[in-house]
Subunit: 421 residues, 2 copies
């Protein structure tokens, strides 16, 4: 198959006709396939049902059913401390979603500042750095607090550090969101060099905070996954212990709606956050914390459990990749990264063709993540990025959905090229 760029007008018209015929055949199937969100499939949820079989809720003589223990039960703090390789004293357990931890932390910075700094809401026009493409829910939080988002392009080993080192000279830049391992949506893991350069940042804003959303810390697809340098091991080398707030959760380990979340941070940040937590809650769900400890046992237990998820997820990723390889590569109209973990595949199509691809998919019964959502303000400057979430549909549905996606990409690109012929 020729690259589209090398095709004549006539060849493109013929190609488009062939594509439309195939597309309409799919359309006639009246499908309803969802590749929009990183939702685990039912078979993944079934992996964790034993979580519910533990019903002794006494730990160290404390009745976990009752009030109290603001920062989480010791055994569960240790489990997450081991998982994130920090001290238990630097862990706070949270509600059922790390999203809430991040939102509540921004809310605290907004009303009270961080560690005694000026409340962010008293400083006009503050900004946050957003590696793009990125996670739409991070952008939603920043938009809620009216914090201006600045795009930082992702490279193959993490965000563009030259650009970041330049941007943080602006004291209005108060922080940055990062998904350092198997990034959402590209599945990129930050290299040691990038992590070190982040740890070494010298922002003009003393209250600069990096939200280190380690959502996919143990979410490998293959036996040998990527390794991420533990940023807390290097922050101290640069006197930046307080610069990073790390979060993670069991949302994609056990139950997305009923897991537990955790935050890791320096002693100063933990104390600062606990001052707010003391007013906001009495304790999070300790019974659920206990169930997770009993279910996983230890970090090795978590890793063994995640291998079961991988066995379910791997064929789904490979099915999508297979079709991308077969149908898009030779046409030279799209690029993507084959992730070794995480929940998404990020597809970059010819500029100006992403939205149209989304429309075509929708018409044929395939729902993608809203095209544009991977950029702040839904504004993908090139209209080229599409996030594919293969986790929810069964493999046989993905087989069809991926073909529909590929045909839609081809049609959108062919149309685009014909505009200028």
């Amino acid at each position: 198959m020729k690259k589209y760029a090398e095709m004549t007008k006539e060849e493109l018209i013929a190609e488009r006709e062939a594509l439309l015929k195939r597309y309409n055949d799919f359309k006639d199937m009246g499908l309803n396939l969802d590749m929009s969100r990183g939702k685990p499939g039912k078979d993944q949820l079934d992996l964790s049902m034993d979580l519910l079989k533990y019903n002794n809720y006494i730990e160290d003589g404390i009745d976990l059913r009752n009030y109290g223990i603001l920062d989480g039960i010791p055994s569960c703090k240790k489990l997450f401390a081991d998982l994130l390789d920090v001290e238990p004293k630097n862990i706070l357990l949270g509600p059922n979603a790390s999203l809430s931890i991040m939102f509540d932390y921004l809310a605290q910075a907004y009303s009270h500042g961080v560690c005694g700094s000026t409340p962010w809401n008293d400083i006009p026009d503050i900004k946050f750095l957003c590696p793009v493409p990125g996670y739409d829910r991070h952008f939603t939080i920043l938009e809620y607090f009216n914090i201006k988002m600045i795009n930082v392009p992702m490279k193959s080993d993490g965000p563009d550090m030259d650009k970041i080192e330049e941007l943080i000279k602006d004291e209005k830049v108060k922080g940055m969101f990062c998904v350092p391992k198997y990034s959402n949506p590209q599945g990129i893991t930050y290299s040691d060099e990038v992590v070190r350069r982040i740890a070494a940042l010298k922002p003009a804003a003393e209250d600069f905070r990096i939200i280190w959303d380690n959502a996919y810390c143990v979410h490998e697809l293959y036996d040998e996954g990527d390794t991420l340098l533990n940023i807390f091991d290097v922050l101290g080398d640069y006197g930046n212990e307080d610069m990073v707030i790390e979060v993670c959760s069991t949302s994609k380990m056990t139950f997305p709606g009923a897991g537990i979340s955790a935050l890791a941070a320096s002693d100063n940040n933990i104390a600062d956050i606990k001052r707010r937590l003391n007013c906001q809650t009495i304790s999070y769900d300790k019974m659920n914390q206990y169930r997770h400890v009993k279910f996983f046992g230890d970090v090795e237990g978590i890793k063994a459990h995640m291998k079961k998820h991988a066995a379910i997820m791997r064929p789904k990723f490979e099915m999508v990749i297979k079709h991308l390889e077969n149908e898009l590569k030779t046409r030279g109209i799209a690029s993507w990264i084959n992730p070794k973990g995480g929940y998404f595949i990020s597809l970059d199509v010819m500029n100006g063709c992403a939205k149209r691809t989304g429309e075509l998919c929708k018409e044929a019964g395939v729902t993608l993540t809203t095209v544009g959502a991977t950029y702040p303000y839904f504004n993908d400057p090139n209209d080229s990025n599409i996030r594919i979430a293969p986790s929810l549909p069964p493999v046989e549905e993905l087989d069809i959905a991926a073909q529909i996606l590929c045909v839609s990409v081809c049609i959108a690109c062919a149309e685009k090229l014909l505009e200028t012929k």
Copy 2:
């Protein structure tokens, strides 16, 4: 026994000697009894263990283990709608504590205002009305957001409405916290007249909000409990539909640390709150919502369950009341209300004697709620109020604890009177 006020100096000295002897005998027992917080006892927690036996998590074909359903599952929304006698569309289910709902709502008002009003943080010196004595955690939230608290004395049928109607003429007064049924700590239920006068308020502040903390809505101690007029039934009569945010939870029905909470409000308020929730979380714990629906079945199931709690709580309240009657009444140095529900007994001792009573109790191994905590800023102007929380200790321990409390009150009052003889 003579009233202390009528005793001569010599009689008081003799009385104090006798009291101190008894007090020291208690002290020698080296006890450690806790009447500080409204913590249910273990036998109460055991009542709800069947909650954990349900493990089918499909409702209306939706897998409740997964992401989604921001405002809670329909069956559980209906359960709380029936409990609070509102429409399910006016219910939002929350996290494991209604305290978080209240904190997050104040945080939203602080950063974004309510229903489009000016963010409260942009208005200097705003104030909230606090019926006193009241719930310390309400005060903590207001203090966190630097909202000035104004005491409003409680009367036998609710807060002093004349005072409230006067105070709300100040547009800086943005709201009020109420515990309308079995108030914390007095156990007073607002009369229909008080509820109507609250519903009819015409505050100068258009964004005036009443946090209607109905924490003890079904927490009767006796078969015939108090009845509270449903404020949502009368708000409309005065065009005040948006003025009240009601909250409740299962903290004292099932598991304090692992229950579910709910908010009831007008369509406008629900829409306003959901705009924030959309940024803060994906969903709260739907599996726990489902367990509660299965466990209770319906409102009648909740009421039947609460009778089991009452059977455990009633003897504890009666044990404390018995000692108050026997030891304090005749001496004329204290007053209290015998509540028909809730979790507390509020004891008012001679002015200037509450803190000293707390110290004496502490020395003898009895922990009370920090004296003063029932007033904003821990400032009880008369130093007279003591909150007694009888739920946690077994009855036989309460027997001793209540005696120690009474002896301590008597000593503190005798000392006080002797100062002026």
